[in-house]
């Protein structure tokens, strides 16, 4: 293949009109795709092609297209956000694929993430988990204390920051064989439990967030570690262990 010719690909895309209707995989052909284009740009090209053919374009979530919003939720060739480490779908480039390749494109699959349309899923279960305790009840109305007034151990601050880089994309749930949300919830529990401001409500927080997580219908973690590998922000399994400790401690005290 020369660079001017581009990639010719077969796409198997999940099409579903609404949450009420059953979906199925549809096959499309795209040609002349530049290896330098992003995966989402390739999807844009597919949609333009579908519109030109007077067909319904594929619905998919996207927003910032620079790897920070966590919107682009595609399960590509059997992996959340496709091949490659620590990237979202918008950061995936077509150079990762070979000319003539068949690419499977599916929505996140989890009972707690119902499909709204095509590749778009409802991730509001994450919002409800956050609303159940993923915050610090401090008054921020103009008299906020200087952050440096409370000394914080550098290791704890670093770990809290690492946990706080979670963008809530749901790749952990999508990739987990049990559709477990424990990496997400543990990142949110950890980022607050590690800091003095968050310790005050740590007990209720972990209890409430885990309860909400269970009620949403996510599965149980079996420590396969797939979530950590597929997480675009590299959230560590260490957070799940910390959440387990926090939960067990708060259950017996």
């Amino acid at each position: 293949m020369s660079a001017t010719e581009g990639l010719n690909l077969t796409l198997k895309v999940w099409r579903q009109k609404s949450d009420k209707e059953k979906g199925k995989m549809e096959t499309y052909q795209v040609s002349g795709i530049s290896p330098d284009s992003s995966f989402l740009e390739m999807m844009d090209i597919l949609n333009e092609q579908l519109i030109a053919e007077d067909k319904e374009p594929v619905a998919f979530d996207h927003d910032c297209r620079e790897g920070i919003c966590g919107s682009c939720s595609m399960f590509i060739n059997g992996e959340a956000h496709g091949p490659g480490e620590m990237i979202t779908t918008c950061q995936l480039h077509m150079r990762e694929f070979k000319d003539g390749e068949t690419i499977y494109i599916e929505p996140w699959r989890a009972k707690a993430f119902p499909v709204i349309k095509d590749l778009v899923v409802d991730r509001s279960s994450f919002d409800r988990i956050m609303a159940s305790g993923g915050f610090v009840s401090v008054n921020t109305s103009g008299n906020t204390q200087d952050a440096n007034a409370i000394p914080i151990d550098k290791h704890d601050a670093d770990k809290a920051f690492d946990a706080a880089t979670c963008i809530g994309c749901g790749a952990c749930v999508a990739t987990c064989k049990n559709a477990s949300a424990m990496l997400f919830v543990s990142a949110k529990v950890s980022q607050l439990a590690l800091l003095p401001q968050g310790k005050v409500e740590a007990k209720e927080r972990v209890q409430n967030m885990v309860k909400q997580m269970d009620e949403e219908g996510f599965g149980n973690c079996t420590n396969t570690g797939a979530c950590e590998v597929e997480c675009p922000k590299g959230i560590s399994l260490e957070n799940i262990a910390r959440m387990n400790r926090e939960y067990l401690k708060s259950s017996i005290s």
């Binding site: 699959r109 396969t224 590998v229 799940i240 067990l248």
Partner: protein, 222 residues
């Protein structure tokens, strides 16, 4: 204590891990006693006689072990069903090997194989033992144990089934050992690498040791 503890997802993980660690300790004890049969008929008979007749072992530890085994299996099935339900529609293409080990993804299958083995193993040793002591109430012979074991491993089919089961046990332990610590929140940069190394060593050495014992007695019988 929170009412939610054992009904919630983390509580179930914790209970699963506790029963796993209990079974790991039991397995080490079982292996240690069995291994004596390789080098000393007398020691093996003495230890087996003690285990078979001591009231604390028979009427306290044995029921606890039975409960531990049953709990681990039942909880394993409950979690598997719950986890399968958490994803109603499966992926058309799922590349699990890209991000996790075969062992971690197939604990239910290695576990099921171990369960079938346990049925076979109970039929070989435990049921005849219960029958001998508590149903037929025969007089205790402290020297019978070694001959019973040796007799069992004269059959090559049984030896093959046992060896294959220990391979599945190794696969189960390769993920299960370190996973139990993670589930209990026992993870730290200082000691987790050591737990992982000990786990791998345990998962390989104990099943290999059991295979050695079975093959040793078979070869001896030829």
């Amino acid at each position: 204590m929170s009412k939610q503890l054992f009904s919630g997802s983390i509580g179930r993980k914790f209970a699963m891990a506790l029963s796993a660690l209990f079974l790991i300790i039991f397995l080490l004890q079982h292996f240690t006693i069995n291994f004596t049969s390789v080098f000393s008929e007398k020691t093996f008979n003495e230890l087996s006689h003690f285990m078979g007749t001591n009231p604390l072992i028979q009427f306290v530890m044995q029921p606890i072990l039975m409960f531990g085994v049953a709990f681990h299996f039942i909880m394993g099935f409950v979690l598997e069903i719950k986890n399968r339900n958490a994803r109603a529609v499966k992926y058309a293409k799922n590349n699990g090997a890209a991000n996790s080990s075969w062992m971690s993804r197939n604990m239910i299958w290695s576990g099921l194989f171990i369960l079938f083995f346990l049925g076979f193993h109970f039929n070989d040793f435990w049921i005849p033992e219960m029958n001998y002591k508590y149903i037929e109430v025969k007089a205790e012979d402290p020297d019978r144990y070694y001959d019973e074991v040796v007799h069992m491993f004269e059959n090559p089919v049984r030896v093959i089934i046992y060896c294959l089961s220990f391979v599945f046990l190794a696969l189960h332990l390769l993920h299960g050992f370190q996973s139990a610590f993670q589930s209990m929140g026992a993870r730290h940069d200082k000691y987790t690498p050591a737990i992982e190394k000990i786990g791998r060593a345990y998962a390989i050495l104990i099943p290999v040791g059991f295979i050695f014992i079975a093959v040793f007695h078979y070869v001896n019988s030829l």
